[in-house]
């Protein structure tokens, strides 16, 4: 269970990085990326994923298909 950032849509604004409760978001070589091993989709911390809440682009952060 994890989220991922759509590379072609991310504008590297960095808004998602500080709101992640598990510090799973880092700036990669091209755009920001989510560590799928530590991402919890905010379960246990918030009702909805905080990165999706602050992301200014629609459908830029999506659930990773299992």
């Amino acid at each position: 269970m994890a989220l991922y950032i759509v590379e072609a849509d991310c504008i590297s604004c960095g808004d998602c990085e500080p709101v992640c409760p598990t510090n799973s978001i880092t700036e990669g070589s091209i755009v920001f990326k989510i560590d799928k091993k530590s991402c919890t989709e905010c379960e246990g911390d918030f009702d909805i994923p905080q990165c999706i809440k602050v992301c200014p682009i629609d459908n830029c952060i999506l659930p990773l298909e299992a």
């Binding site: 590379e7 072609a8 849509d9 504008i11 091209i30 629609d58």
Partner: protein, 237 residues
């Protein structure tokens, strides 16, 4: 008196008026700074190329302590013809279909046609440029004199639709609901931290296009995903 002399007299008058707008500044002091900015002889074309940063740093920062607003006012006086009140407008060039591949179309919210100094909802015009790595073309100037009686929401939509053929818009400021309208039309809004000359913005953008544009920019420029990281792909076969 030749027409050249008349032109210079008018320009000299502007320098005098501009100096008057600055604290403790006479025409001589301003003239010294201007000559450091653009070197002699001072011409109309050279004056129109001066921006705030040049004015602030010239002559070892002679004007560095003067308020930006006052300097901007002086610049405006310098660039505005006393008699006609006209700021010389840059020339609009045609862009035929299919020309300038690998380019992006940008809008700049501007009041003075020189700087990105406009608020999205109140600027007098959008300057439209087509920008590629090695060429820039001013292709249109779109005045925003919208129809009266529009409420705020309709006004913002009208303005966004005015630039909907652009991929990016640069502006000095924009409100949240207006930014949402812009994004909805597939235009990328860029709010600048300071008022910057359009030429500086285009320079920066050209550097980005010539290098490795970020994926979102490559996407709006129509570069196929397969070509975006061709070096990486070639390396891995």
């Amino acid at each position: 008196m030749s027409s050249q002399d008349i032109m210079l007299r008018e320009l000299a008058l502007r320098i005098g008026l501009a100096a008057h707008a600055l604290p403790d500044t006479d025409a001589r002091r301003l003239f010294t700074v201007l000559t450091d900015c653009v070197s002699l002889p001072i011409t109309e074309a050279k004056i129109s190329s001066i921006n705030l940063k040049m004015l602030k740093t010239a002559q070892q920062g002679e004007f560095s302590t003067i308020d930006d607003a006052l300097l901007r006012k002086a610049l405006h006086i310098l660039k505005t013809n006393v008699e006609t009140g006209e700021i010389p407008k840059p020339e609009i060039l045609r862009l035929a279909e299919g020309e300038m591949p690998g380019s992006v179309r940008i809008a700049c919210a501007s009041n003075d046609a020189i700087n990105v100094d406009g608020h999205f909802g109140s600027c007098t015009q959008f300057m439209i440029y087509q920008v590629s790595a090695d060429e820039t073309r001013l292709i249109d100037i779109r005045p925003t004199n919208s129809l009266d009686g529009l409420d705020m929401e309709d006004k913002n939509r009208y303005r966004a639709e005015l630039i909907q053929d652009c991929q990016v818009i640069y502006m000095a400021s924009v409100g949240g609901p207006a930014a949402a309208k812009i994004v909805k039309l597939g235009i990328h809004p860029m709010k600048l931290p300071d008022v910057e000359p359009i030429t500086d913005i285009i320079d920066q953008l050209q550097t980005v296009i010539a290098g490795t544009p970020p994926p979102w920019l490559a996407k709006v420029m129509g570069i196929e995903a397969t070509n975006r990281f061709r070096f990486e792909r070639e390396a891995t076969g």
